[in-house]
Structure formats: structure tokens, C-alpha cells
């Protein structure tokens, strides 16, 4: 299985390449990608340099252009595809059907991967993308169990990439406007979720309150570590119950299931984390690289190291296991 690694900066990109990535994915510094955070992502020139660095070391570069084209502003997205192709991207990762159609028409030789944001969660959906756009690989939404993935792999003529480690969307990706509802900034149109520009922390007596826009997302009593107010990882009240309504502040870790994913027919494992620093990227990529080729006896120690790198030290296998539902 290939190891697909995140890079939000040129420095992280080089670290990922050096640490053993098979491919590094990244995006342009604008709304065309789903990690459009301040201080992140690549200029055209930075991407040119990064791709050259990767190619010399036989590492692939995938360019994520995985938000949805805003009507009237399509040029921004078209230009991103044209430039990624011209700069030598090994694949473009797309979510918008209109942009896929554009890419197939203008750049028929370009390898096209389907972003998780497209929400292709079953065999007929994948067939749609293969027939309409000649998609070569699909990144599966985090809604499927390993058994579902194995069954799906047998039915489609397309490679499968799955998320293995890092942040976890609770909602089907690309189909969530929670952030847009609370802040006006849309994951699908602006490439942001729970944006830092709308985050505020305030002290209320002995509690630290985290807010997103006008909404309280969590309250932390003295002594409890305060997390970032990602909307779907907040604490809420439902009737008389108080708690994490959608998901605890956990991250995804399916490294205990590497063999099952390989047996299921998965071609590539993806690490989430373009917003992470280069040291984190280097560490996760190198440990995962070793875990992929380690013997069964060596693996637990490596998996334990990865767990220590997870946010809050708490991890989940998410939808990969049925009981999560």
C-alpha cells in the first residue's frame, strides 16, 4: 500500500519526502483546497520547487483542488487545475463534477483522483466517477467499515485510498455545512471548517469557554485541557444530557488494522494533517513507513508511538468498526 502524506508548507513537504512518503499531497494558497488556512499551502513557485524535489527522489505529488467551484468564480479553480497539470502533478484530487469535466476535457492525460469531499460511498457512485470522468482512484469517505470497503473493492475498477491517521470528520465529508451555518464560511465553497477567524476563548468564572461565531462550543473547568472548538467535536446539551453530541475530541488511528485494509484491497493509506507542523509530519510519516513494513512482532511498539502523537492522546477507529455508528 502506498503512503500518502500531507504537506501544508514546503518545509513539511520535504520532511514528508525524506521520511518515506510514496506521495505527498498539498494545495494552492487559496479557496481551491479544503485546508485553506492562514499561513498554509503553496504558491505556484513553491509547488514547482516541491515537485522537482519529489521527482528527484521518485516520490509523487498529488494536488488537492477539492472544494466546489463558486458560480461566477470558476476561473480560480480552472487555473488551479491548469497550473497543477503544467507543474507536473502526478494526480489532481477533485471533488466538483464541473471541475472534473473541465479537467477531462482540457487535460485528458491527467490522472484524476476523487477527493473524499465527493462522498463516493458505494460501488455505483464510484462507477459514476469512473465512467463520467475516468477517475483512477477514489478516496473513500469515513463512513465505511473495513468489511464495506472489502466488498466495494471487488465491485469497482478503480483504486481505493482511505484515511488511516489524523483528524476525523464525523459527518460525511463534502456534505457538511455546519461550519457555514455558524460562521458563514463554507467548507465546500471556502475550504475552511470552524475557521480560526471566528474562534474566541473567554474566561467565565472558573471555566474557559470556547466559542465559534456566536455559539459556545465547549466549556472547560479549571484543570481540563482546552481543545480547539471544531464544531462537531463540541460539548452540547440535548434534553437533560450534556456531552459530546457527535464525537469526542479524538483523532483517527487505524494502524491496528493495516493487514485488514491491505486484504480488503486498499491501494493507499492517507495521513490527514496539512495544518500540522513539519516535525509532526516527519515523525508520523517515518513511523508509519516503518509500521507498514514491520513484522507483526515489531508493529505494536510503532503503533504505540503513533498513538502518542495523536491529539489529546485519544484515538478512535471511527466508522471502520461497526459499533462506532
Amino acid at each position: 500500500m502506498e503512503l500518502i502524506c500531507p504537506a501544508g508548507t514546503p518545509a513539511a513537504f520535504r520532511e514528508a519526502v525524506d521520511a518515506g512518503a510514496d506521495a505527498v499531497y498539498c494545495g494552492f494558497r487559496d479557496e481551491t483546497n479544503a485546508r485553506n488556512f492562514p499561513g498554509l499551502n503553496f504558491s505556484r513557485e513553491e509547488l514547482r520547487t516541491a515537485i522537482a524535489y519529489a521527482k528527484q527522489r521518485k516520490v509523487m505529488t498529488f494536488v488537492a483542488i477539492n472544494t466546489f467551484m463558486r458560480a461566477g468564480q470558476e476561473t480560480l479553480w480552472h487555473q488551479a487545475v491548469d497550473d497543477a497539470v503544467a507543474l507536473g502533478a502526478d494526480a489532481v484530487i477533485l471533488a466538483d463534477f464541473g471541475l472534473m469535466a473541465y479537467t477531462v476535457e482540457r487535460h485528458p492525460q491527467q490522472r484524476l483522483h476523487v477527493s473524499v469531499q465527493a462522498s463516493a460511498s458505494n460501488a455505483d457512485a464510484v462507477r459514476f466517477l469512473v465512467e463520467a470522468f475516468a477517475a483512477k482512484r477514489v478516496v473513500l469517505p469515513r463512513t465505511l467499515t473495513i468489511a464495506d470497503i472489502a466488498r466495494l473493492a471487488k465491485q469497482i475498477d478503480c483504486e481505493i485510498e482511505v484515511f488511516a491517521f489524523g483528524g476525523l470528520c464525523v459527518m460525511a465529508e463534502g456534505r457538511c455545512s455546519l461550519s457555514s451555518y455558524a460562521t458563514g464560511k463554507s467548507p465546500n465553497m471556502n475550504g475552511v471548517c470552524s475557521p480560526a477567524s471566528h474562534v474566541r476563548y473567554r474566561q467565565d468564572g472558573r471555566e474557559l469557554v470556547s466559542e465559534l461565531g456566536d455559539y459556545t462550543i465547549n466549556r472547560f473547568p479549571a484543570g481540563e485541557a482546552a481543545g480547539y472548538p471544531t464544531l462537531c467535536k463540541g460539548r452540547f446539551d440535548i434534553a437533560e444530557e450534556r456531552g459530546y453530541a457527535f464525537e469526542d475530541p479524538v483523532s483517527l488511528d487505524v494502524m491496528d488494522h493495516i493487514d485488514a485494509l491491505r486484504a480488503a484491497g486498499v491501494s493507499a493509506l492517507k495521513i490527514e494533517g496539512r495544518q500540522r507542523g513539519k516535525a509532526y509530519v516527519a515523525e508520523v510519516v517515518s513511523v508509519m513507513r516503518r509500521a507498514l513494513s514491520a513484522s507483526v512482532a515489531e508493529r505494536p511498539a510503532l503503533v504505540a508511538r503513533l498513538k502518542a502523537l495523536s491529539e489529546g492522546q485519544k484515538t478512535t477507529t471511527g466508522a471502520y468498526e461497526k459499533r462506532w455508528r
Binding site: 463534477f97 464541473g98 462522498s119 455505483d124 463534502g174 451555518y181 459556545t216 446539551d237 440535548i238
Partner: protein, 318 residues
């Protein structure tokens, strides 16, 4: 804005009931809609959770008959999230056997309906004209645009895609997200696979409040909806000018007949938008209305029409 010929008036459409209502209640709702509501199109069926289908199945045939004999055009919705083999089979069966048009709400339905006339529901991502044209080339004849689209996008997409009838999500809690996990079951100490259909206890959704007791969202099984009810009634004239063909009302647990009549009278000019809005308030007591998405603001916001085109943000603080 220059106006030439007056735009043709959009017709009214009723989206599927997103909540779990018991079978007889569901049937009686549609019987009343058939007999009395000024609606041209009605989409029925289960979009949210495949586990719920058996509640409405015994009544589907009689509901369709009643709606059609009242002159309504009936479509059937496909599931929004298809992951299990059983769910794939359901969508395949529906696409193959249905004698009624299907509203596609996920990518599998897009594939299975290729080449047949069909409609696209609000849960398929259509954010631009290129996507709308691609779907039209595969057989889509009408598209209900995603509720989070601002007016600028709505106008642009309609302009670029003359062959398609566009529908606007104008009334109802906004479907904001869908998950493999059932937060509704989880809130009552259960999981999806053993949910005991607890979502039926909340026929208008289960309110999620912030820790400061501010109503925020509503759970509906695996779907998360807005707490506010989107209400695009002040915006009807500009939607008509932009060329919107249909105005979609999404059923809430309220007096939907009165809602439909308020929209119908407003579109026809029999009442003012202010009066139409007041009638929505009476039809759905206690509801907080929002229209922020349409105006490119946060979705939860309400902007009230003031003196012509000037609008002022009024944040809902229930």
C-alpha cells in the same frame, strides 16, 4: 435592476418528510396535502435512513394515488447516504422499477439514473453551472439547489443552464450534515444498529443546545439540521426574476397547509411578503426563521427586508 417582461411565477413543490413519522400520520399528512394544498409537485419517500423504510412502505401506493388524483406531480426520493449492500439494492430497485420520476440524492442514484429523465435533490452538490450542465447531459431535468448557496450562485447557475428547471429550498430546517453515526440514537444511549427508532420520538427533530442554553441544531437520526427554519419569502420576487421554476417547502411538524397557502398567496400577490411572513410565524409557532445562506451570511442569521432593498442583520437570540 432593469426589468423587462414580468417573470413567470414559480410553482410550489413539497420536499420529502425528513423526519420519522409513524405510518398513519405520514399517510394522513399527504392525504391532507393532496386534498387541500396549492402544490404542483410532491416528492415523497425516505431520504435520511434506510432503517425507517418499513414505516411508510405500506402507505406509499395509496398516498401516490391520492396525490395524483389531486393533480400533483409525484416524485420519489433516493437515499442520501448509501453505504450498505442492502441500501445499494434499494436504490437500484427504485431506479429500475419506479414508474415515477426519481429525485437523486446521492452519487449512486446519479449513476443508475443516467439516460433517464430524473431530478436532483438538495443533497447533491451542485455549486456551479458546469455541474448543473453535466447532470443535465445525463438526464436531469430539474435540480433543487443546495440550501447553503447564496443568491449570486443561484442566479449564475440558472442563467448558465436554461434547459433545467431549478428549485429553491425556501422553507424548512436546513439539512446541514449526514453521518454514518446516528447522533440521535447516541443521545439516548443507543447506537445506530440497535436504535429502537428513537428518532420517532422527535417528529420535528431533537434540539441541540449550546452549553449556554442557546438552541443551535436539531438531530434527525443520522442527519443534523439547523435549529432555525429557513424561510425565503421576502426573496420570492428576486428568485422569480432570476428564473427559479419551483419553490420547495420542506415538511416540518407544523401546519404545512398554512405554510403552503402563505407562499402561494405571496407568490400570486394576494398578500404582501410581510403578511406572508407573519402567516408563516402563525403556522409554525415558536420557530426561529433564517435566510442567511441566501444572502451570503451565516446560515443561522435572519435579515429582514427594510424599506425596499436595504436589509439589516438581526441575529436570532432565542
Amino acid at each position: 435592476m432593469t426589468t423587462t417582461a414580468s417573470p413567470s411565477k414559480p410553482t410550489l413543490s413539497l420536499g420529502p418528510v425528513y423526519y420519522l413519522w409513524d405510518g398513519p400520520k405520514w399517510r394522513d399528512f399527504y392525504f391532507r396535502i393532496a386534498d387541500e394544498a396549492p402544490l404542483a409537485h410532491v416528492t415523497i419517500g425516505e431520504a435520511v435512513c434506510s432503517k425507517r423504510l418499513h414505516f411508510i412502505e405500506p402507505h406509499v401506493v395509496e398516498v401516490i394515488e391520492r396525490l395524483e388524483s389531486a393533480g400533483k406531480q409525484v416524485s420519489l426520493t433516493s437515499l442520501a447516504l448509501v453505504t450498505l449492500e442492502r441500501e445499494s439494492q434499494l436504490v437500484r430497485g427504485l431506479s429500475r422499477d419506479s414508474t415515477h420520476p426519481i429525485e437523486a440524492n446521492d452519487l449512486s442514484a446519479l449513476q443508475l439514473l443516467t439516460g433517464k429523465p430524473h431530478s436532483i435533490g438538495p443533497l447533491v452538490n451542485v455549486y456551479n453551472g458546469a455541474t448543473a450542465r453535466l447532470l443535465a447531459s445525463r438526464g436531469a431535468t430539474s435540480i433543487c439547489l443546495p440550501p447553503e448557496l447564496p443568491m449570486a450562485s443561484v442566479r449564475g447557475i440558472i442563467e448558465e443552464t436554461p434547459a433545467v428547471a431549478f428549485e429553491i429550498f425556501a422553507f424548512g430546517r436546513v439539512p446541514l450534515a449526514i453521518s454514518a453515526r446516528c447522533a440521535h440514537a447516541r443521545s439516548k444511549g443507543l447506537i445506530k444498529d440497535n436504535c429502537q427508532f428513537v428518532c420517532a420520538e422527535d417528529p420535528d427533530g431533537l434540539t441541540v443546545e449550546t452549553l449556554d442554553r442557546q438552541p443551535f441544531l436539531a438531530l434527525n437520526g443520522v442527519q443534523t439540521m439547523s435549529h432555525t427554519c429557513q424561510a425565503l419569502i421576502q426573496e420570492l420576487p428576486e428568485l422569480a426574476v432570476a428564473g427559479a421554476s419551483r419553490i420547495r417547502l420542506s415538511p416540518q411538524h407544523c401546519d404545512m397547509l398554512a405554510v403552503a397557502r402563505a407562499f402561494d398567496d405571496t407568490i400570486a400577490g394576494r398578500c404582501s411578503t410581510a403578511e406572508g411572513l407573519a402567516r408563516l410565524g402563525s403556522a409554525y409557532p415558536g420557530a426561529s426563521f433564517s435566510n442567511g445562506f441566501h444572502h451570503g451570511q451565516l446560515g443561522a442569521t435572519w435579515l429582514s427586508a427594510k424599506a425596499g432593498t436595504e436589509k439589516e442583520a438581526v441575529q436570532h437570540r432565542p
